[in-house]
Amino acid sequence: MAKSKKGRKIIVFSAIGLVLVGLVLLAIFKKRQPVITVQTEKVALHSLTNIVVANGKIQPVVQVTISPEVSGEIIELPVKEGQLVKKGDLLVKINPDIYIAATNQATAGYESALAAKASATANLEKAQADYDRNQELFNRKLISESDFIGFKSARDVAKAQLDSADDQVNVAKAALDSAEEQLERTTIVSPLDGTISKLNSQLGERVLGTVQNAGTIIMIISDLNQMEARVDVGEMDVVGIKPGQKARLEVDAFKDRKFNGSVTDVASSSKDSNLPQGYSSGSSQSQEATKFQVRIRLNDQEAFRPGMSVSADIETSYRTNALTVPLASVTTRPVTPKKLDPPHAGGTNATASTNIAVSKTSGTNAAPSGTNAVASAAKGKESAKPTDVVFVIKGDHVEAVPVKIGICDDTYWEITDGLTNGEEIVSGGYRAISRDLQDGSKIKKGVATVEATKP
């Protein structure tokens, strides 16, 4: 009885011991690697349209700022904001009193100069007659040379006085013309057919002329029949934008509608470059991205208003049957050029091949997120360069394959080198691609999640 109990104990403990030892050995020697859940897709052919998205405002193609050339009080303002005006319609009348007075003064000065000129002419005629008569007497030696020179001088002086009077007439005439011009400028008429899109001043307000300063902007007249979108494009995208390219525009005020347009002008300098060198209105400005203004003429007619917000999708390039992968599939990892294989050293292919330099660390802390991951991984590895890669499925592992990307649209990247049609690649999740996956990581295919679809 005691023996059978002892035997049973030995059997039980031996069985337990064997199981535990077996499990411990397995646990010790089994290579453990995190299994990352991913979603996959196949590399496929698609047609791509590269879109540059930019935001801006609707503005009229023709827009004229009305500022007075003379200063004074507005005594007539027969227009209001939003009013349609024709070319030549009266817009503003500035009090002309001082300009009328100035004109009268100039007129008097002119007339005075004319009178002085007439007097000088008469004097010259008399001096010329004296000179002619005495020259004959002098030729007959009836008068002394001294007397003759006196008559000659008198004639020359009279001639000079006439010239001076003539100049005075010109001066007075110019002053009169200027005064009349100033007087005319007290009346401002519309330079074009359009709409008063902005009216800043009101009746009775004193405005400054633009002769020696910026002047007061009384109003803005716009031709609302021809509108354009003025959008700001980043410096990375602006190089691909050219006049004539098509654009689809969404105006916030017209929900669920898209308008057609075409690029008419691309700024040759950035918006900030208009500022004088060294000028900065604040620290925040220097941190802003450099933007270039692009003008897009709207082909569709609608009741657009200047200043409406607009978002433009500018089609910069197009590819048919391009080899594509989902946007989310392309990420960046540091890659080092592969060490040259001695037998192939010097060969052209040897230098072209690459090797993923990231150590196959495991766990969530292994790879810092985003661009920092790239930076930190590259640190200390001089030859490691951040390279675009796509993770290709190889059984239950992935291989980070360096790729060359072309254009993209909302969904896909064009792959110009590195992949072939039909290869299965990782398309999600976002965290796995951006952080967790490394060359050789073990994976399992999971269902697509919301996070997985994030580009």
Partner: protein, 246 residues
């Protein structure tokens, strides 16, 4: 019958539980019979936690679980995608920390509560089977039976380390690919656990010895209560998911 040492009792409960419970029935009450297994269960739980959460594969699974629950919230429109992206790193950290903290704090609580809860079931079973023993005797029996759960903790930890699956256990769950704790069928598979059945069987032996009843009747009570209790928990879980998840 000569009294055995506490260590002998702790080991003999694996191979000869009837002998151990006969001795317990005859001996005066001893706290060591439930306290030592509880302490061993705590130590096993803590070491298990340390080992499991040191594994990158397991941490990855925890993070994926957190991500999955956030995705579910986004799909249901309870939070926006932008908020989800902000919450994701926090949730990932919080999930791992919560799991470790709950293991560190929860293990002692369970280890000390389990003998008393199981003891209560045995004591009630004794009443049903017309046995005559004190509640503390039932606690001692339940405590010693928990030695099987100590072994379960060790085996479970080793299985997790071997398979890299957080939900691995000596149960039918091992056969389930991509175990989902929110899946009722998967949860049922996890309940078909060899070590758990062993522990229930040992408790049944204890109840039979204490109440002088047959092992069959005692097992009927112990397994019946366990089945009812587990079914209730599974049903509540399924109802919770049905109401709040769908």
């Amino acid at each position: 019958m000569p009294a055995t040492s506490p260590a002998s009792r702790l080991l003999n409960v694996f191979a000869a539980p009837g002998e151990v419970f006969d001795e317990i029935k005859a001996a005066p009450p001893s706290a060591a019979n439930w306290l030592l297994p509880a302490i061993l269960l705590i130590l096993a739980g803590w070491i298990s936690t340390a080992l499991i959460f040191s594994q990158p594969a397991i941490r990855q699974q925890m993070i994926e679980l957190a991500d999955k629950s956030i995705d579910l919230q986004v799909e249901k429109g309870r939070i926006s995608s932008a908020d989800a992206e902000k919450a994701r790193p926090l949730a990932e950290k919080a999930t791992v920390i919560a799991a470790v903290v709950s293991a560190v704090v929860g293990t002692p609580a369970v280890a000390f509560a389990l003998p008393f809860w199981s003891g209560l079931i045995l004591w009630l079973g004794g009443k049903v089977l017309h046995g005559n023993f004190s509640y503390l005797k039932a606690v001692e029996v339940a405590g010693l039976a928990n030695m099987i759960l100590v072994l379960d903790a060790v085996v479970r930890t080793l299985l997790i380390l071997v398979t890299g699956n957080l939900f691995a256990s000596p149960s039918l769950a091992l056969a389930v690919k991509d175990f989902d704790p929110q899946n009722t069928v998967h949860s049922l598979c996890a309940l078909v656990n060899v070590m758990l059945f062993w522990a229930l069987l040992v408790r049944s032996f204890g109840l039979a010895r204490l109440s002088n009843a047959s092992v069959g009747k005692a097992a009927l009570w112990v397994f019946g209560i366990w089945a009812a209790y587990s079914s209730t928990l599974l049903g509540l879980g399924a109802a919770w998911r049905a109401i709040f998840m769908h």
